[in-house]
């Protein structure tokens, strides 16, 4: 019997196990998934919880239910991977040998890594929204908040779903507007990047959207600590930004066992080939989804496209063949912009998000980099697609590799930034 061992039953792990199970003969292959939490969280839904649009119960379902029959789910916490021995040790002492390993344990917010962040103000006037508990606590706080200085803050890149903090700021603007208290709230968006987003064309468009909503932008802010007494965030170059309510995205890190096992970079992400996800060190270890050190966004869409490539490659690889498919870093996401609208971005390792149209079967073309109501419905409808199409491993009507069809290159808009750097 051969064993494929998948660590983590999140988006990437579930998809891979479900897609591979029917293609690996049961008499020969055992597919085992290890996870420590029974609930599968629809993480894109966290964004809507602080504003009372979703409740926590709306985003959780049992993991077991979403794994195909024939996939063995084992509950347990990983202590160590021993790649030289091709085995995994769990905290309870269980040892699981494998023929092939897929690390899909994702990335986690770590407020403990920034001095003062999880201090006396934690979940009183300092909140995260990338955990269910954080999003729910923030919903409670916002429901009775009387206004003041709201600071939306990113600690360090990379973070899971890099557009979510922007969406949070846009939705907050709408939320306060609807409650008739927008004039009593100052919103500041604080980022370590040099603009609203990572890539120039999208950064410019999203930066404009912040401006239209009177949300102040504070770029190049690299946080040193949270000063709970004075209610300020302080940067390494000693800038101080006061807050009444701080909504922060803490440092994101891969699982600690990755570091203990000597498999990770400085943030515990597994070093892999960006085209095949094969470990740069071990020839029977792969990492998928947020757990890998890929130079693209950490997002469910990336996990999805990456899984499609991985499956075909893996079936070639275990038969001794060469892996002929290469991932291009394809990511796409809806960016909720408030007021019942959203925009869509689509990009990869080489091509930044551009304007134009995104061809899509049945519902018709969606607008890229432009706010529309259809994109908003696309965003909300994706929840259904996630549970019923994506996780079960059904083929979705979107291309795995990024396509230039419908896109408008705007290279002329990219300004040389050398001058800016010297300021």
């Amino acid at each position: 019997m051969k064993r494929l061992l998948v660590l983590g039953a999140g988006t990437a792990g579930t998809m891979v196990a479900n897609k591979l199970r029917p293609r690996l003969p049961r008499a020969v292959w055992d597919v085992v998934v290890v996870d420590q939490e029974p609930g599968h969280h629809y993480q894109p839904g966290y964004l809507f919880i602080p504003f009372g649009r979703y409740r926590p119960a709306d985003v959780i379902r049992p993991k077991q239910k979403y794994l195909h029959r024939g996939v063995n789910l084992m509950m347990g916490e990983v202590d160590l991977v021993e790649p030289e021995l091709s085995q995994v040790r769990l905290v309870d002492g269980t040892v699981i040998p494998y023929d092939y390993l897929v690390v899909a344990t994702g990335t986690t917010p770590r407020p403990d890594q920034t001095p003062g962040m999880d201090g006396s103000g934690w979940r009183t006037n300092v909140f995260d929204f990338y955990t269910l508990e954080g999003a729910a606590a923030l919903a409670e706080r916002l429901s009775s908040w009387e206004g003041g200085r709201l600071v939306v803050h990113i600690t360090e890149m990379p973070i899971k779903c890099p557009v979510a903090p922007l969406e949070f700021a846009f939705l907050a603007d709408t939320f306060f507007e609807e409650r008739g208290m927008r004039d009593r709230v100052d919103i500041t968006y604080v980022t370590p990047l040099d603009g609203a987003f990572t890539k120039p064309v999208a950064a410019k468009r999203l930066g404009g959207m912040l401006e239209e909503r009177k949300i102040a932008l504070e770029p190049d802010f690299y946080i040193e600590r949270v000063d709970n007494e004075r209610q300020m965030i302080v940067s390494y170059d000693e800038r101080e930004i006061p807050y009444d309510l701080l909504v922060t995205v803490p440092l994101n890190m891969g699982a600690d066992f990755v570091a203990r096992s000597g498999m990770g970079d400085d943030l515990n992400y597994v070093r892999v080939d960006p085209g095949t996800f094969l470990s740069t060190k071990w020839d029977n270890v792969f990492a998928l989804g947020d757990a890998a050190d890929l130079p693209t966004s950490k997002a469910g869409s990336v996990a999805h496209f990456a899984a499609e490539i991985f499956i075909e490659n893996f079936l070639q690889y275990i038969r001794g063949g060469e892996m002929t498919h290469r991932f291009d870093g394809h990511a796409n996401c809806f960016v909720e912009s408030g007021g019942g609208k959203a925009m869509l971005i689509d990009f990869n390792y080489e091509t930044q998000p551009l304007g134009g149209k995104y061809p899509l079967a049945v519902v018709g073309p969606m607008s890229l980099l432009r706010e529309t109501t259809l994109n908003h419905w696309g965003k909300l409808g994706f929840k259904w697609v996630y549970w019923h199409g994506l996780l079960p491993g059904r083929k979705l009507p979107v291309p795995t590799l990024m396509s230039m069809a419908g896109k408008t290159p705007e290279i002329a808009e990219i300004e040389t930034r050398e001058k800016e750097m010297t300021r």
Binding site: M157, D194, Y236, D237, D266, M421, T422
Partner: protein, 104 residues
Amino acid sequence: MSLATIADREVHVDEEGFMTEYEEWTEGLGEQLARNIGIEMTDAHWKAIRFLREDYLAQGETPTLRRVTNAGGIPTKELFELFPKKPAKKMAYIAGLPKPAGCV
């Protein structure tokens, strides 16, 4: 990609002025690149730049600020004093390396 003349030498640079050929860089060029962005190199500056060069060779990518602190042993606070405001970008520029990829 285009050619630029730095300290009387022709080198390959990208559209933001970052050098693209590892082998074309010399410490003399580094000094000139630093001057271009208003930095006068000292021993402390060189310690960081030399770490970047070595780490790039070993890892195949420009180290992030976090890595310069963790593996290079230079406190982040000091990096902000040496290379004000945008240390990761400025260090990569002076060291003749691609912009760090953390920004995705």
